[in-house]
Structure formats: C-alpha cells, structure tokens
Symmetry: C2
Subunit: 495 residues, 2 copies
Amino acid sequence: MSIVICLFYFIVATAAKNAIEDRNKLLERELKMMLGSDISLSDSEMKANEIIMDLKIKELDYAFHHPQTFNLSKHFFDYKDEVEDTELFKLLQQMPKGAVLHAHDTGLLSPDYVLELTYMKDLYVCFQKGQVQFLFSENIPKTPCAVKWQLLSDARLSSSNVEKFDADLRKLFTLVVSNPKEVYSDVNAAWRKFQQYFITTGPLLSYKPVWEQYFYDTLKAFREDNVMYIEIRSVLPELYDLDGNVYDSVETALIYKEVLDRFMEDYPDFYGAKLIYAPFRMVDTKTVKKYIDIAKEIKRLAPDFLAGFDLVGQEDIGAPTKDFLSELEEAKSELDFFFHAGETNWYGTSSDENLLDVIALDTKRIGHAFALIKHPVLLEEVKKRGIALEVNVVSNVVLKLVDDVRNHPLAAFLAQDLPVVLSSDDPGVWEATPLTHDFYVTFLGVASRHADLKMLKKLALNSLYYSTYPNKDKIVHEFEIRWTKFIDNIVKDKW
Amino acid sequence: MSIVICLFYFIVATAAKNAIEDRNKLLERELKMMLGSDISLSDSEMKANEIIMDLKIKELDYAFHHPQTFNLSKHFFDYKDEVEDTELFKLLQQMPKGAVLHAHDTGLLSPDYVLELTYMKDLYVCFQKGQVQFLFSENIPKTPCAVKWQLLSDARLSSSNVEKFDADLRKLFTLVVSNPKEVYSDVNAAWRKFQQYFITTGPLLSYKPVWEQYFYDTLKAFREDNVMYIEIRSVLPELYDLDGNVYDSVETALIYKEVLDRFMEDYPDFYGAKLIYAPFRMVDTKTVKKYIDIAKEIKRLAPDFLAGFDLVGQEDIGAPTKDFLSELEEAKSELDFFFHAGETNWYGTSSDENLLDVIALDTKRIGHAFALIKHPVLLEEVKKRGIALEVNVVSNVVLKLVDDVRNHPLAAFLAQDLPVVLSSDDPGVWEATPLTHDFYVTFLGVASRHADLKMLKKLALNSLYYSTYPNKDKIVHEFEIRWTKFIDNIVKDKW
Ligand SMILES: [Zn+2]
Ligand SMILES: [Zn+2]
C-alpha cells in the first residue's frame, strides 16, 4: 500500500516538476532573446544593477498593486515634472546615453529658451487673430500684417501685465497644456498644434544670429544630458539677417558646420554632430528632385558633415513615399537614407506602407517605425538587414499614436532584440529633457519588469553602433570609459 | 550624346523599377501571410467581397482624411449604438460567424433583460448604501440587510417615479456610462465596477428558474446573431429555489445540460453548447484542488457536455497560475484546459507570465492573450502547438487594456496568421450584440485595410476548427451551406 502511495507521489512530483521546468525554460529563452541579454556585467556593474533594479522594482510593484498611482499610464504632461525628482530619473540623467539619432533641430530647446529670444532687440511682432508673427528687422517689416507690426519690446512695455504677456507668448512655444486629453482629441488635432509651433517659431529661429545660437545651445543641452554625439535633422530653411542677406539651404547647412566647429573647440569632450537633410514631404516630385540636388551639393561641400537624407511631416496627410520612389531610388547610390516611416496607426493605408518603400530604398534607419509591429515580413527584413529603428516613445504619446505607453510596440521590439535606438524627436516642444525622459519612460513603463542595466547599456551602445560616426571603436571606447565612471559613482553612492 | 542620354534613362528606369518591384514583393509576402490568405473565393464570393470592401474602404478612407470622425478610435460606448445602423454592421450581423468560444454565462444578456427579471414575483430587495441586494424568497429573507428587506414590487410601487426607479436599477446591470474615460480611469476602476455587476446580479440569476431561463435565452440570442455553437464558461454557483433547495456546482452543470437539451429540441438548427468550468482564481491551493474534483465529477456525469477547465478573475490581482502549477499539472491527463492568460499590460509581472504557465500546462486555447505580443518565444510556441487565441477586442477596450483599438495586438496576430478566434467575453455587460460588434470592430478598426471577406470567413472557420465540437466535418459542412446562402443574399441584394 505504502509503495502505491509513494509511486503516486513520485508521479505527481515528476509531473509538477515538468510543468515548472517547462515554464522556466520558456522564460529563460525569452530573457536570452531580449535586447541587452548579450551584455555581461562586471562585478561593479552587478552592484550598480542591484541599486537600479531596486529603485525600478519598488516603484513598479507598488504601481502594480495601486495602478491609479502609476505615472507612466497617464499622459506625459501629467507626470513629466514630477518624475524628475525621483532617484531613478536622476540616475538615468547621469548615465552616458550615447547618441541621439532622431531629433529635429528647431524643436529641441524649451519654451523658456524661446521666450528669452523674444527679449532680443530688433524683433517685431504682428498680433493677428489666431496667429502671431515674428520678424527681426531694422525697420517696420514690409511683410503683410492684418493689424500692425510693432517692436516686441514696445508691445511688452505697453501691456498692462508683463508677466501675463510673457506667459501668453510662452504658450506659443509649447504643446504642454493642463488638459491634454481634451485639447488633443486625435492625431490630427495634436499635429495641427505641433505644426503651428514650427510656423510661429520659424522666423524667430531662422534669424541667422538666433539660428547659430540655438544650435550651439542645443549641443550644450544634449551634452549636459550626457549625450556624446548627435545626428540632427533639419528642413534647412532660408536664413536672414538685418542687412537683407538671405542664406539658402546649402548655406544654412554650412553655417551649422561652422557653429559645430566652434562648439567642438569650446567642448572638445563632445563627439560632434552630423546633419540629416529632411525637408517637408508634402510636395510634388519636382520639388523632391530639387531637394535631392541640394543634398548632393551639401555632400559635395561638407562630405563629413552630411549623414544623409529624409522627408518630414505628418505621414497620414503628406504624400506617400511611393510617389517619389523612382526619384529616391535614383539618388540611392549617392545619398544615405534615414527615412521616417510607419508613424501611424492606420494599418494598411498609404502612410502605413511607407514602411515597405523605405525598406525597398535601403534606408539605413527608420524614424519611428511605430506600425512595424503589424508587418511580420518587414520585422524580419529589418533584423536581417540591420536597419535600426529610431523609437521616440514620448513623441508618440504627445502626438497621440498611443495613450498608455505599456501598449507601445517598443515593448515587443525590445523583447525580440530588434535594432532599437531610443531618441526624443522634439523634446523642447513637450518640455522634456534632451533624452533622459525617453530613457525613463522606456525603462520603467515600456520594457519588461526584468529589463535591467544590460538593456540600458545596450540601448546606449546601439545608438553609437547605428550612428554614422566614422570611428566606431574610438567613440565606443570613450563611452566605456564614461560608463565605468558612471558605474563607479553609483556603487560609491557619489551620483 | 543621345546614346549616353538613352543609357542614362535606361539605368534610371531599371533602378526605379527595382524599388517598386521590391516594395510590391514585400507587400505580396505580407498579404500572403495574413490570416485568411489561404481561402480562395468563388465567383459569388468575389462579388460579395466587392460589396463588402466597398463599404469598408469608403468608411475607412473618409476617416483617414477626417480622423476625428473615426468611431473606432473613440470609446466603444460612444459609437456602439450608432454603428448598428450601418450597412456593414447589418451585413456582419447576417454573416454566419461560427462559434463563440469565450463567453461568461452571466454576462451575456442586456441590462434590459436583467431589469425585466426584477418584475418577477417573490423578489426581495435590500437597498443598502452603495450596495443593492436581491433575493428570491417566499418570506422576508433572513440574510442580513442594514436597512430592510422589502418586496421589489412594493418598493417599485411606493417609489414616486417608476421610470426613474427602473432606470436606477438598470444602471446596476451595465457598465455603459456617458463619460467612460472619467468613470473608468484605469484597469482596476473598470474591474471594480465589472465585478460589482456579478456580485449584484448573482442572487438574481442563481435563482434556479431564472438561471434556466437566462441560459435558454442566451442560446436564443446567440443563435439570432448567427452563431451556431457556443462554449460557455461558468463559475457554477450554487443555485437555490423557493423550497429551500440548494444545488451545488455539479448539479448546476447538469441543469445547464437539461436546458440545453430542451433548447436543442426547440431549435434543432443550433449546434449546441459545451461547458468550461471556470471558477474564481483568487483562492488557495486547497480550493483549486476542490475545483478540479468538481470538474472531474462533471466530466464523469456529462462527458460530452464538459469541454474543460479554466480559472477566472482579474489576473493582475488574483493568484498567478504558477501558484497552482503542480495541482493543475496533475489534472492535465484528465481535463482539457482553456485558460485565461495575459489579460494585462504589466509586462514581466506575475500576471503577464501566466502566459508561460498555461502554455507549459498544454492549454488548448488561451483566453485574451493580450500580452502575448511581448513574448516572441511564446508567439512561436502558440503557432507551433496550434494553441488558439480567444481574442475579445471590445472587452479589452471596456476593461481598459487599450484605448484606441488600432493599437490592439490583434492587428499583429492577424498579420502573422496566428490561430485567432474572435469572441465577446461579456457582451451583455457592455450592451453589445452577442458577437457582431466584435467582428465589426475587428474588421474595420483593427485589421488591415486590405483584410477582406477571406479574413472574415477564416475567422468564422477558426472558431469551429478550434472548438471542441466532436464532429468537425459536420459542423463545417453546415457552416458552408449557411455561408453560401449568405453570399447569395448579398449578391442578390436580399440581405
Ligand atoms: Zn521625427
Ligand atoms: Zn473572459
């Protein structure tokens, strides 16, 4: 009898062990596949990892049991300031994050910075209904104004309340509002306000002295957020000055190069910048051809500075990439592509299928690739061809592609170790830090609870690996030095 | 010179042709992979497909250009009534949809139906603050009531306004509100109200005469929505009657069987029902063992009626499946499993990893599998092992897993032809039709713009194929007959 019982328990125990073994094996296979799993941590890194994971897990597990407290499931505007005070955020800010590979040059600095620019002399303003226009000029501008051009300093002086006057101006330079879910009811509503930002700030920022200063200060801001290198996209607008000079796209590009050289002299520990010429996509074929010629000319004059070519603007309403396929194909041998694609949730539409076109065009990286998760063949191709995905989580929330970051496809991309780099798109427009907020949201809100320092390090390394920085060994070596210092500081509690 | 030009154009044309060919090949590969791509349409089906796709594309393309008009990006409660008047909805209602494989027995009929039940005699009510209790009884119930038990008919009669009285009662039987985004601020807020529905309606529905009628009328409602077979989940509560009899879970199951037999006599064109015993998961190991014994006993008494076993309740707060792994593993040889798993967006948590356990336990199907998209290894396993995914899109919106259905992982599941079946979970609680709304939302809001009649047919066929109906050939044959009739009606414009 006891033998029967024993046998019974033996069978049960064996069976149970099998299911546990099975599930653990499945988990192990998944963890081994995850982005960062190929990184092995040193003893110091393991200690630092414990500290980081302690912060992460504590916050996550509390939120799991009190979901209403979980910041990351709310709108970015509701928590972005609050989280800056957390230890985890401060730690990620200190962390060497590698490169920023997806950022638009005139959306990078805060509304406070832009407001400050309105204190410059020679700035005129035209307060029209529903549209404020700026222009630097020695005399009253000749551009039409439905009301009247006045010096901004005069307008400010004659306002009854300067604080309110400035607060109203500042609103023009940000998408942040207290009730984002009402104001930005759909993708197009968000994009309208987003595009309005660029229209309004255009003549402010394309004043040559401002343009130079803005870029210089951008490089400074990214450096301070522990970014070591940046590839910046620009529509390269015409610049102007008070003497009536106008600078075309090629000249604008060269002006960037000059500013960069000056910055590198002042901050030799920075690893520089490259330019991706990315003009508006809502144009005809002829204009695209003109764009390509401009890109080629920039490449001829500054071959080391130009990384390549892209097209920008809301994909859902712009022309699909397919419309320019033969023009772009023709330019392929001379220009590298870094196309935006799949920044949409309209599955099976022309904008969704820009993903097909940019891959057919051998794009080096894809900007956003939000819709890629719905394209199993393209997921394979991206992996096979090593096409990096420039993912901008915060941007996708602000521009209404996804509400709860936990539903962002990046979670799946990280799970299967796609070539992901994190970037920030236009952090100034939503008052985020240059890159830290995107790392924070990804690490705490998107990635698996298991994702740890290995994933953080790999994301930073990916950004260097998939950059066009010419000397990868050099930049990775320098990154490792900074990383080791960062780890030491954590372990010694000196951060 | 002209030869050089010719050569130049030749090269350009060839290059362009390559990119177009490439993108078209990629698209073709994707379309060939999509769920339903293996279906070939007859001439009649092709004609019907044109009619259906005309309706779909017209609506989709208008919405693409006017996204604020797109119902499917809003909350389900905002559009569910409105869309019932569309031609596409009516067509999908007529369409033979196969089987419903994921539905919970006491959440299937409308609040109006439940309200109607409160007009039955012998129903007592206790209006306590924040909690209304019902009980059928010959005399004043002895169960505690903080205020007082009264006959519901008396309470209604003495109310100053019967219409308002009934409207207030009705609110207890539905999750639908006019401002869902405020009321249901997070997953747990939605689940609290959802569970309250089951607590409140429990004693109403577990009164034996009501229980029998509710099930009978459920079968009728699903049959009328062109569902031919159903596998219904039940916690199998104790039933009661006026004579003081109490019926345990096994008896409750057998009562279902009797009702089913009666229904099949009245409606021999229906293909029947099976039971999945699915008690609450928030229990200890001992209770799970008791559950398993109950399931085995039902199986012994009604082997053709019991499909298998599951556990229900909010995964994020219930015990993880892992806690019961050895008990369930032990039962595996005798019971088939149809587990809920991955109904969460907390990636890497214990609830997320229920997916690992249920696959290790050889579950036949997975209820929801919402989080599966973040598990590349499990995606493979599910496909390899032919584990069907019971996807309930509308439920996931109402219970706050995802806001915009276009971000539902089902889109990716369909793209890679995972074994998907569409179901409706608890359509009565959110005032949806038994299955049509889930098909409508999937077809128009989740699937690719390219997805057509082939996908619709395949989804219906999947629901038969992955059911436990014993004679697949027979049920599929009958389905084909009904399908042909449906197609003929569309083509002859007689639907
Ligand atoms: Zn961008
Ligand atoms: Zn369910």
